[in-house]
């Protein structure tokens, strides 16, 4: 049985840990004090790079690499802490903000010291009223005790931290949408490049980091790179990152919800399989796992035979899904996948910022098609199209045969792919919101096609037994194209 490894959450349940005094009793700010005394900023950046720490917000981009892109000769530089946690199924940052806000402040201090930043903003989700209150109280205490403000601890390092509540838009969790919103504009992502590291908030170099990423820093600094890299897994030469190794080090705050007996946030080493995670969360409620969403509602779904997949950034990418924010939603045999997709598509159609054409008009279109199928109004007409599968060469591709599909299913897949293409992993949109729409839509449809077909055929939602509802492994595009990480391990 896998055990939790509590690092970020170690003192989460200590009463009054949100207050400065109690936080100090549990070694609070000690790591920062040590860091600012013993390390030069460049050394911290090197350590972060060596640790292989990946941004926990969703994209899993190397934090050290991101920091290296920031030009040091442009002043001022900013830090934006992304606390706009709005991915459905994700709730780990919220606990930090509500229960242990000083830990976040310590992380911010280390990051800003390393990057020579004197102003940081915490963009906190507007709905987190308790979290905002706790955070503001902690910021006040930190100022009172000289951990924020001018000449911190006599080191000559200044830092001001501001908390800023969001106004309730999902897209403001996207880093450039966040920056626009913080500047007082409509929350719409910017065109990249330039990336925020070069030109971000107020057109200055800006580091945007998730709460969880920043909370990793005190422990990374305090306990060292060697300790940090001993946690998690490091893959060898993957096709995504040749020829370097691909580290997935540290712990991850997995948010497990849905049909499990003990839903909640679990801090576990990166790289456990989905099966192990469900076990940690008390096992599946009901009889069996039908499907698992591995990384927030925007991640492609995993079927019951894909549970051997390791839930880390690299492995899930190789399985054509993503870890995203680590929001894991488990579904048992009673769940209807078409209905689940409708739920998710309603969310995304509502949250599309409307800036660029494919997302603005494609997302509600996808929702409408699914809605029609759920309402039993899916069209019975079928069309012929090329059948994809394992070809004579043993690879996934056009088999040369034709298959007959319901017109609406072909339309659904095509419209979603036109927003962001699942097979080529490209998108026609400004930001990756397009992916958040099309990846679930296409993966649900392709992996649970019998259930979609049944809904159209019968004119109503039909929840099929798991084996019947799921496309067999030999016809599953993701399963067939996955690259088993073990093959690439050093």
């Amino acid at each position: 049985m896998v055990q939790e490894r509590r690092i970020l959450y170690e003192h989460l349940d200590v009463p009054d840990i949100n207050t400065f005094d109690v936080f100090r009793q549990y070694d609070g700010y000690k790591h920062f004090e040590m860091t600012i005394k013993e390390y030069k900023p460049e050394e911290i950046c090197d350590m972060v790079m060596q640790s292989g720490l990946k941004g926990r917000g969703g994209a899993g981009f190397s934090t050290g690499l991101k920091w290296s892109f920031v030009p040091r000769d442009i002043e001022p530089r900013y830090l934006c802490c992304n606390a706009d946690e709005s991915e459905p199924g994700t709730f780990s940052n919220r606990y930090v903000l509500e229960k242990n806000p000083h830990l976040l402040i310590e992380g911010i201090l280390i990051c800003c010291y390393a990057m020579g930043i004197n102003t940081a903003y915490i963009y906190i989700r507007g709905e987190f009223t308790l979290g905002k209150r706790m955070l503001d109280a902690a910021l006040n205490e930190a100022y009172q005790h000289g951990y924020l403000g001018k000449n911190i601890l006599g080191s000559g390092f200044d830092l001001d931290v501001y908390s800023h509540p969001g106004a309730g838009a999902y897209i403001c969790g996207e880093e450039t949408g966040l920056i626009e919103s913080l500047e007082g504009k409509r929350g719409q992502p910017r065109v990249k490049p330039p990336f925020p590291a070069v030109e971000g908030l107020f057109h200055k170099p800006t580091v945007v980091q998730n709460v969880e990423t920043l909370c990793n820093l005190p422990f990374l600094m305090g306990r060292g790179v060697e300790w940090y890299t001993s946690i998690g897994r490091t893959y060898g030469d993957t096709r995504f990152n040749p020829p370097q190794s691909d580290p997935n080090t540290g712990t991850k705050l997995y948010c497990i919800s849905g049909d499990v007996n003990k839903p909640g946030v679990y801090e576990l080493d990166l790289g456990l399989t989905a099966e192990e995670l469900i076990e940690v969360a008390g096992g599946v409620k009901g009889e069996r796992v039908k499907a698992v969403i591995p990384g927030g509602s925007s991640a492609p779904i995993l079927t019951h035979y894909e549970l051997e997949c390791r839930l880390d950034f690299t492995s899930l990418t190789l399985w054509k899904s993503m870890l995203g924010s680590g929001g894991i939603i488990v579904m048992n045999e009673t769940r209807n996948i078409v209905d689940c997709l409708l739920n998710i598509m309603k969310f995304y159609a509502h949250e599309s910022c409307g800036q660029c054409t494919p997302c603005r008009w494609g997302t509600p279109w996808v929702r409408d098609i699914v809605q029609r199928i759920v309402d039993g109004e899916g069209r019975q007409t079928t069309i012929q199209r090329p059948k994809f599968g394992i070809t004579a060469s043993g690879r996934w591709g056009d088999t040369g045969e034709m298959e007959e599909v319901y017109e609406d299913l072909d339309l659904l897949e095509s419209v979603a792919n036109n927003i962001a293409n699942v097979d080529t992993m490209t998108w026609n949109t400004i930001c990756v919101f397009g992916i958040a729409v099309s990846w679930p839509a296409v993966s649900y449809l392709r992996k649970f096609r019998p259930e979609f077909e049944a809904a159209i055929r019968d004119g109503e939602l039909v929840t099929l037994p798991i084996e019947e509802a799921t496309v067999p492994p030999e016809e599953n595009y993701a399963y067939q194209q996955r690259i088993v990480p073990g093959l690439f391990e050093p």
Partner: protein
């Protein structure tokens, strides 16, 4: 200069040029909606996706990039020697690959899902980017069977209507108001597929602020679809039934380049035409909507003479003879000739020639509209001088800065005169008290005008001239750009082109003038007027000619 491979072409473009412009320079169209060369680039329409190529180390060769890029925001720069692609190119891009074509088709499908497809009744039909790009790049078939959004029509301001259903939310209009006009009246309301362009409103939907600035009409021009329409032009004509001619706005001394849309029965619309150094892509609403006087029923159509205090229509021969007789019997020193800042260089040149060589008078003045207000916008200025050709007229009439008969000096000069020949041609504007008194005192006043204006009311003989839309010629703007105006419509009634009237008078007075068209006069101007050596109609063309002595003035 960057050396790039554009499809199969090898071309040089300037550093910093984006792909849309680079392609346009070499005859390749990259379809786009939100990009406008005069505005910032949000890259939101996604129509201009192109396929850049990059070096891919594992393969050891240049391959198409994984992601398509927007042509508007992708700029080319000279690459350092070690980073040239295929050893020589600074950039490689395709605008015609299968991926690009598919992307265009997909984007167009999205653009049309909520579009009402009401082209038969849409003002933009025939000059609509949505039509044209659908025709060239679209699929020709819609797969959309869901319910369409039907946002309301909106009255945004004095001249602008918004048909929200047709809007593709490219935000050009918003950016124009923010960046060029600096007024910021427009914004987006709602979110996602319910995005709408709107002005600020209170909770009862009453406008808090209208799209009411002097540049507002430009949003109609830059709207790539039929969403923003001009109330002035709405339902007046199908674009393909109108003819176009290039001209220059006669509204002020900025001299905005324009296109005049006309039919046989008059002018229908004026739109700005790009000129980098004068008006860029824009013009003001005063000029845009100020053409109606050309079509007016009240225009002077026939010469008139005063008999017993009343105007009586007469023939050209009679009117001209009357004037010739008066000129002949008057001492040259008592004759004043007044040119017009509304008139072309050619007219004023002939008038100066008439005065000096035929009438032998040096009493030459200049008349024009009273100054208005100057309006400054972040990227545009409307001049206070409401005449299109003040500078040119001064040059042609050889009136220096200390000329005797400009401003107030003009009217004191007129007060001493017996016969005055005044060319006006101003569309409107009362004259001042001094002017009125001076002109009333004149024994015999000849006015050449387009309306029964305040000055014409005082005349003994009125000659019907024409507006800028009915004649050829050139204007010199305040900055010294000599630019062409072209005849669009015929003069009303018996009205005649102004320089022809002047020539007729000169001939009847025994002068030697024998011009057949305005260009001939311009050739003579080029020979005789300092700095105007390049100002022949051929050289002016559509782009204008800048006078050399600009700095010396």
């Amino acid at each position: 200069m960057a050396f790039i491979k554009l499809n199969d072409l090898e071309v040089e473009v300037e550093d910093g040029t984006n792909i849309i412009e680079a392609a346009r320079q070499h005859g390749i169209e990259v379809p786009h909606y939100c990009y406008h060369p005069g505005l910032t680039r949000p890259a939101n329409c996604r129509m201009c996706l192109v396929e850049p190529h990059v070096f891919f180390p594992p393969a050891g060769k240049v391959v198409p990039d994984r992601q398509l890029a927007t042509g508007c925001t992708t700029t080319v720069r000279t690459a350092p020697p070690d980073r040239k692609l295929d050893g020589q190119y600074d950039f490689i891009v395709r605008t015609d690959s299968q991926r690009v074509k598919k992307a265009r088709e997909d984007i167009l499908e999205f653009l049309l899902v909520h579009h009402p497809l009401d082209c038969p009744v849409c003002d933009q039909a025939g000059e609509c980017d949505l039509q044209d790009f659908s025709f060239n790049h679209g699929s020709g078939k819609s797969r959309y069977i869901e319910v369409k959004n039907v946002p309301p029509k909106k009255d945004l301001g004095p001249d602008v209507l918004l048909y929200s259903t047709r809007c593709i939310v490219c935000t050009r209009c918003i950016r124009f108001c923010d960046e060029v006009a600096g007024t910021g009246e427009l914004g987006l309301i709602h979110r996602g597929s319910h995005d709408e362009i709107d002005i600020p409103r209170d909770h009862d939907d009453n406008p808090l602020r209208l799209l009411d600035n002097k540049l507002a009409g430009n949003v109609v021009d830059i709207c790539p679809v039929g969403a923003l329409t001009s109330k002035d032009f709405l339902f007046k004509s199908r674009p393909w039934f109108m003819k176009q001619v290039n001209s220059v706005c006669p509204g002020c001394s900025v001299g905005c380049n324009i296109t005049v849309d006309y039919k046989e029965d008059g002018l229908y619309r004026i739109k700005p035409r790009f000129h980098e150094d004068i008006n860029q892509h824009w013009m003001c609403d005063d000029g845009r909507l100020g053409y109606h006087y050309v079509n007016s029923e009240d225009r002077l159509k026939i010469p008139m003479k005063r008999v017993d205090g009343e105007f009586v229509p007469t023939s050209w021969a009679d009117a001209l003879n009357l004037i010739v007789d008066k000129f002949s019997e008057t001492d040259p020193e008592s004759i004043v000739v007044i040119g017009s800042a509304q008139g072309t260089n050619e007219e004023n040149y002939l008038l100066g020639k008439l005065a000096r060589e035929v009438l032998k008078t040096e009493s030459i003045g200049l008349f024009g509209r009273e100054p208005g207000e100057e309006h400054k916008f972040p990227q545009f200025t409307i001049d206070a001088d409401k005449n299109p050709n003040t500078r040119g007229a001064l040059d042609m009439l050889k009136l220096g800065d200390d000329a005797s008969l400009t401003g107030d000096a003009l009217w004191s000069g007129v007060a001493d005169a017996k016969v005055v020949y005044l060319v006006s041609g101003a569309p409107e504007g009362p004259i001042g008290k001094t002017a009125e008194q001076a002109l009333e005192a004149v024994d015999f006043l000849v006015v050449q005008d387009i309306f029964e204006s305040d000055v014409a009311q005082l005349a003994d003989v009125v000659l019907p001239g024409v507006t800028f839309a009915e004649k050829d010629g050139s204007f010199t703007n305040a900055k010294g750009w000599v630019q062409r105006i072209h005849r669009a419509v015929d003069p009303p009634g018996e009205a005649r082109v102004d320089w022809e009237i002047i020539q007729q008078l000169a001939k009847r007075l025994g002068g030697e003038m024998d011009y057949h068209f305005a260009g001939e006069i311009a050739l003579e101007i080029a020979e005789n007027v300092p700095d105007y050596q390049d100002a022949t109609h051929q050289k002016i063309g559509d782009g204008g000619v800048k006078l050399d002595s600009e700095d010396s003035r």
